[in-house]
Symmetry: C2
Subunit: 415 residues, 2 copies
Amino acid sequence: MTKNAEIIAVGSEMLTPQRLDTNSLLVTEHLNLLGVEVVMKQVIGDDLERLTAAIRTAVARSAILIVIGGLGPTQDDLTREATAAALNRKLVLSLEQESILITRFRQINRPMARNNIKQAYLIEGAEAMPNPHGTAPGQFLSTSCGAVALLPGPPRELKPMVEHELIPRLRPVLPRHVIRVRTFRITGIGESDLDTLIAPVYTKYTNPTTTVLSSPGDLSVHLRARAGSVSEADALLREVGNPIAELLADRVYSENADESLEMVVGRLLRKHRATVSTAESCTGGTIAARLTERGGSSDFFTAGYVTYTNREKQEVLGVSRELIERHTAVSEPVAAAMAEGARRRSGTTYALSATGYAGPEGGTDFDPVGTVYLGVSGPGGTRVVRVRYGRDRDRVRLLATQGALDLLRKTLLKG
Amino acid sequence: MTKNAEIIAVGSEMLTPQRLDTNSLLVTEHLNLLGVEVVMKQVIGDDLERLTAAIRTAVARSAILIVIGGLGPTQDDLTREATAAALNRKLVLSLEQESILITRFRQINRPMARNNIKQAYLIEGAEAMPNPHGTAPGQFLSTSCGAVALLPGPPRELKPMVEHELIPRLRPVLPRHVIRVRTFRITGIGESDLDTLIAPVYTKYTNPTTTVLSSPGDLSVHLRARAGSVSEADALLREVGNPIAELLADRVYSENADESLEMVVGRLLRKHRATVSTAESCTGGTIAARLTERGGSSDFFTAGYVTYTNREKQEVLGVSRELIERHTAVSEPVAAAMAEGARRRSGTTYALSATGYAGPEGGTDFDPVGTVYLGVSGPGGTRVVRVRYGRDRDRVRLLATQGALDLLRKTLLKG
């Protein structure tokens, strides 16, 4: 039997047009891993009456309630008071928490303002959850059928408290089972084509569940299996995941949920002891920026040339004037010459190039806005692909960058 | 007298760890402009009972309720049913909506599935809000003290409906007054320093309200004045905004909320009929990428050189080997030589350079990780600034890029 959870985020600033409650995502992720489903989320301003009513209703409705924020020292911080009122319990001064507070202020050499003492009050029966990154302790209260937890709002305080304090306390409250996840990170296919391809497999199963997440040029498929043991869960993941992996073939660039395409490319370059340079036009430096995003990229990246004008393509990359005049700067031969020029100039094992019409202006009948030629040059020769990415400039640049990195990845896999 | 609003986002997919309810931000922004405050937001899964209860409570508590999502044709789409039940009203088939639906399916040449007829049902007394981008009409219902609106979840359907259908219907329901906003976009100062600087001014006023929004290297101050007329509101904005503008001086790069730093730089370059090139090391192409982000950037941008190795700095930018050996590649003279080299090579009016330790490796006692030298070279000579940006690589790259663009902005303002 599973238990349901609700999350309440507290704070008037969370109700402005600029702020999203992202904290609840972290909490949801951890609750889901425990097999707990989040059935409702609320964002409530600093209003004692509304907050108390919402907590009272949530506790009556769901086994687990997580309240995030409103644990600070100011008058606006009402989570402790509202939760105590909703549960008909008192707030009690904890001498232990008071002494922790005093020590903390002494350590940071700041006088403790009088209102800080609020943070040493616990709901009757609640256990304090230590907060090494801030002054507000969390609170955890077991109830007859579940639990109520109060957590601080700042993400760098919240995250460690969820991982090290909340989850270990929730686990014994919950029925026992195991959740295992398998992830495929994919590029070079659109979301609906991906779904058409793999839906015949995954729709036959309700366990594991399958989720497809998409951002431009980058998709991921998540399988989540639930079973009595790790080996049972892993067997379920193999049963559904292996045929999906076969269908997706080399469109899967990683099975590690945290490994981005540029990380995979960096890993492959290091493995081959190879280096890379870039010759960019329409992507304006974004391929170089992606390749150098992570520390240690100087192991494989040497140089990037953003050649926005024809003169630069000639001068820096040695693309001949005749070639540009004959084919235009956005063409297969120029993309090839750019990659070859960058490789020659910088002496790298590989070079990538991109030239195209990012828009909104430009384009021809044959190569309308959104057309990009991506080139890769390496020991095995030079290859250019022509791609079409629609009419939105940001999207064209992003997809062209992703496409160029994927071209290098596939070249490295063969090489 | 103001009215309060609540927003309910409907859909189980909104309760996963991957999805945020961003729709409510758009709606909040528009409601705020009407002087309506959002006091609570909820996300609820596809569950008739929970949804009905939440709508019933919200309507009893707040004058305006906006329900987003759950208007599709499938069994999971329960917003219509839940709202009708919560308000004790019937759902009535609208023959007009039925005929709109049938026409729409004929136009897109697809058979209308039987369950689509659900979308032609309106809550008794509600008015349909047309949806040119989808099959689900919105619904608007005036109540004794406010209104209830149902809106579709897909952002491209939601946005035009909010702007063209919802807001015009809400306006007559609300008390009349005017909201005017003044924005300062700021860089080159930290959030707490900014607040220390301007808080003595803005804390004296409750109208306009002042909000400071911060992202790394980029801050904005928003003043919102509320009054009976535009001229009264504008007078309030001047009263508070002018002293703030004076205190911030040239740290304000724009008073247009939608104008980014690279847009300002592009505008100034165009105004001076000037061009720019870049010589980047630690920023890895991100300065070039920012400068070329928008269409038409070929008017002022010609070339970017990402010189990650010493050899590239010598070969491409003509930085002398002796200079690098004497001062190291991360130094004021090398930053100056890089900018001068890029300017000479590409023949641009200005050139920007960046060389530093982005981390996590590298650095010296004098120049630890996070130290970056930013250079600008132009008709008035070459200038280098040394900055320290902490130890987080992403942040160092982002702040160095922002710092370089701001250096060019300030140079252009003087030039």
